[in-house]
Amino acid sequence: MSVDVLYFAWVRERIGLPRERVETQAETVADLVAELTAREARYEAAFADPTALRVAVDQQLTDFDAPLAGAREVAFFPPMTGG
């Protein structure tokens, strides 16, 4: 399947792009992170500490165990600092 992967804040800066379309067989968010981390050093740098990251699938906050079946958009970012 193919999914849009979005990056925000320092995740975006480390990976060097705001979004990309990814072909993947990953079944969960964690699988997708493992696939990306294996790609290049810049992904490894961005995903080095998963506890420092948050994830949204189809614009809903979720966790790294979440399944990706049917997902169209996955976003990775640091803890939010709104308000």
């Binding site: 979005l6 925000f8 804040a9 320092w10 975006r12 949204a56 614009q59 906050l61 958009e73 976003a75 970012f77 640091p78 803890p79 939010m80 600092t81 709104g82 308000g83």
Partner: protein, 146 residues
């Protein structure tokens, strides 16, 4: 309920006046306004990034929850993104309720959730360089009280 996510400045005073105008059902109106703080005096500006597809939906979810929990007459949330100068308004919430305890509690709930659950990220730009603002453990902990 009104939720606005925008790059443009907004007029806090005008928003409060409009929000409170003509209410006969709500004796209590509370607002919170967040301004760009410059503790050290060397802040050039703040850059606020957000997640356009998700931001409004996430805030509407938080505001709906507040209205449900405290039987509010109304709620308003405005949040800016982009480049903000020191002293500029970043965001504002307003709540209206028959009694003050509900209006206060709902405004604090909205702020606690907007801090940690709405997809915004702040970067401080100073003469020394740039740095992403780190989330505070106490902001995450603040959610536990609700």
């Amino acid at each position: 309920m009104q939720v606005r996510v925008q790059e443009e400045p907004f007029d806090m005073g005008g928003e409060l006046a409009g929000f409170a105008h003509g209410r006969r059902d709500a004796g209590a109106v509370v607002t919170f306004s967040g301004l760009v703080r410059d503790d050290t005096g060397d802040l050039s500006h703040l850059e606020i990034e957000h997640y356009p597809g998700m931001t409004t939906t996430a805030i509407e979810g938080i505001a709906s929850e507040a209205i449900r929990r405290w039987s509010l007459s109304d709620a308003l949330v405005i949040h800016r993104y982009g480049r903000l100068a020191p002293g500029a308004p970043i965001m504002m919430v307003a709540t209206a309720a028959p009694h003050r305890a509900d209006a206060f509690a709902a405004a604090e709930f909205l702020m606690d959730y907007l801090k940690s659950r709405a997809p915004f990220w702040k970067k401080e730009v100073t003469s020394a360089g740039e740095a992403w603002v780190e989330a505070k453990a106490e902001d995450e902990d603040a959610l536990d009280r609700w």
